[in-house]
Symmetry: C2
Subunit: 384 residues, 2 copies
């Protein structure tokens, strides 16, 4: 096992009615930036519930944070936050809104070009505190310090991370997910599944408990993911998807083990250039990446096959093939297609995608740093 430090400061408020716990957790004399997305929370009643919960507290609303939150939009919110002198950001939505809140929190008191936070890792001070009300289980953003921001004009989608941006609390009420479109549940389950894989599917370092935890999340997602599509208002099913997605990326399962975030990094370019949903990009990249990295990841692919998919017959090569197919089949069962061609992206676009990887410095990905631009091309070609 590798050395690690671990703490997760986010207080999880899980279950029906937990929104009522929010006011007690705001600063004294709170002035809250209430941040949300495209208005779905106005249709499903969550907006009204938040307004009711915040009664008597000074609130500034900012709506319109889009999926893959846009730098431009977030900078508008930063200007509002500065002008109104809010002292807390309450993000109500999915990973995009929460990621956006983190960027706003970091940028409000930043002198200079805030784009540097993303491109140059510029350090920032005194970020605003953030809280989250999650409506879409997927990214784990509600209890980690990660954020990804997109800039359309330059076709860039860039991650940054800071413990200081991690939400102080996160309300996880499964009922808030009942009205989600099927596509968002599909995406969320695939996103969480791949988060686990990227902390698990590397090489063994004798960390059996981390392995069991990772496998436990995968098994649970496989069990409840399809049910969540068929039974949108089954409380327990939605609760189990929600808790799995949070545990998938709150830092715990990746402690003490190697990680490989190359599927995300390659996927980001597909969103930046072709506008694909984040999870869709992962479902395209991962199976091809497993195929190309089958030697490096052999031991763990075999373990995944046996423990999660019950694949224990055949030669090693056969079992690896079957395990890759099982992952692909799971994505398809969640109604997420796994090929570039399914989204009308031609093989001829691969050059552009690889060029973007190069521009963003993604030239040595993977747990061994051996996924260079040639391998990325190989992976994308296999996924064509």
């Amino acid at each position: 096992m590798l050395n690690f430090t671990y703490k997760n400061q986010t207080e999880i408020l899980f279950g029906k009615g937990q929104l009522s716990e929010v006011p007690a957790r705001l600063p004294k004399e709170a002035k809250v930036l209430f941040l949300y997305g495209g208005g779905s929370i106005k249709q499903n009643g969550v907006y009204e519930q938040v307004v009711t919960a915040l009664e008597g507290i000074e609130v500034v609303e900012f709506a319109g944070v889009e999926p893959n939150p846009e730098f431009e939009t977030l900078m508008k919110a930063v200007r509002v936050a500065r002008e109104t002198e809010v002292n807390f950001i309450l993000a109500v939505g999915g990973g995009s809104v929460i990621d956006g809140a983190k960027f706003i929190a970091a940028a409000v008191n930043f002198d200079g070009d805030t784009w540097d936070i993303l491109t140059k890792g510029a350090s920032f001070e005194n970020p605003l505190p953030v809280g989250a009300v999650l409506t879409l289980p997927a990214t784990g953003s509600e209890s980690n310090g990660n954020s990804v921001v997109t800039r359309k004009e330059t076709a860039q989608k860039l991650p940054f991370s800071s413990e200081s941006l991690q939400p102080q609390f996160a309300v996880l009420d499964p009922e808030f997910t009942y009205s989600l479109p099927a596509r968002q549940i599909s995406n969320g389950v695939v996103d969480a599944f791949v988060h686990v894989i990227e902390q698990y599917l590397t090489y063994p370092v004798n960390a059996p408990l981390q392995d069991r935890f990772a496998e436990g999340i995968l098994q649970t997602l496989i069990e409840v993911g399809p049910l969540a599509l068929d039974h949108p208002t089954d409380y327990d099913v939605r609760a189990n998807v929600m808790w799995s997605a949070t545990m998938a990326l709150n830092g715990l399962i990746g402690k003490g083990v190697p990680q490989d975030w190359s599927t995300h990094m390659i996927g980001h370019e597909l969103t930046a250039l072709h506008g694909l949903d984040h999870a869709v990009t992962l479902a395209i990249v991962l199976p091809a990446l497993m195929y190309v990295q089958r030697d490096q990841k052999k031991v763990k692919i075999l373990q995944l096959g046996e423990r999660v998919f019950g694949i224990d017959n055949g030669s090693e090569d056969e079992r690896i093939d079957l395990t890759i197919k099982a992952v692909q089949d799971f994505f398809e069962s969640m109604q997420v297609a796994t090929r570039l061609s399914d989204h009308s992206i031609a093989e001829s676009s691969i050059d552009n995608i690889v060029a973007n990887l190069e521009r963003n410095g993604m030239t040595a990905l993977g747990e061994h740093g051996d996924i260079d631009l040639d391998k990325a091309r190989q992976i994308l070609t296999l996924a064509a």
Copy 2:
């Protein structure tokens, strides 16, 4: 799944050499009460390493916290802490030293009879901050708010708990466990195993991820426990025992599910009256309790049998019997005996044990509150 709130504020510093991280985490102008036990840390070099790490920091030593820490001893430490005006307690040892540190932290600024904290749940203010350097993986005390204190003169062993007492950091260096006597490793593995069982073996509430996590810890303990006895200086084996014991009782796996701490509560009386090691009492009580509560716990015992011990043949009754035997066999394989008679405790002592349970108000234990004094007697008789 049941509603829950969850946060774990302890920063885990895991691995070789992490002791050097401690000074940066102490208060400014720190004056540290360095609390430890019977002196084993002087033999294994941990004492020297702590002294070196704390060089330049004002330190007051207090040694002699015993296993099942004594109220009298801890009150001596409280007087030292008051006189010397320390502002931080660094507990170096196993669960007993850390539990003791929590009581001292609570008692230092308490007006009145500090025994009331244990017997009457008296509230306390401004506890001292606590940090932990763990030398014995077992109780999970290094990252929870629980503490158990014993008073020999009244034959009482009483738990209390407060989030405010949870260590701010915990150093988990597997090398610090190399020199532990086999008996302490045996006890630690059994203690951690039972902690998991008490958050898992109740009735299903459709919380599959919590189940998988619990099963994952049990599987890991079964895998590495015996190895830890055979290979005391295998770093990874000790690391995996250590991480499993911490995860067993840092609150996570018990969130959103029913719990049943009756094995601990009955076991505490065996220690209070007969001085048995804590883990030994659990190994005696649990199998008998599973037998007596086999109907109430049926679904989860069958699941435990199938998923953890691979028992999937035979009638339900047969599988339940086999599962109870498998638990018992695991304890015995860890060299912990499972009967009162193995410790020369006669059946005639059971009256006294039951009387102590009554005195301490332990008359409606278990996830259904249906373990009354009659059932406790039945359990103890079965374990005779």
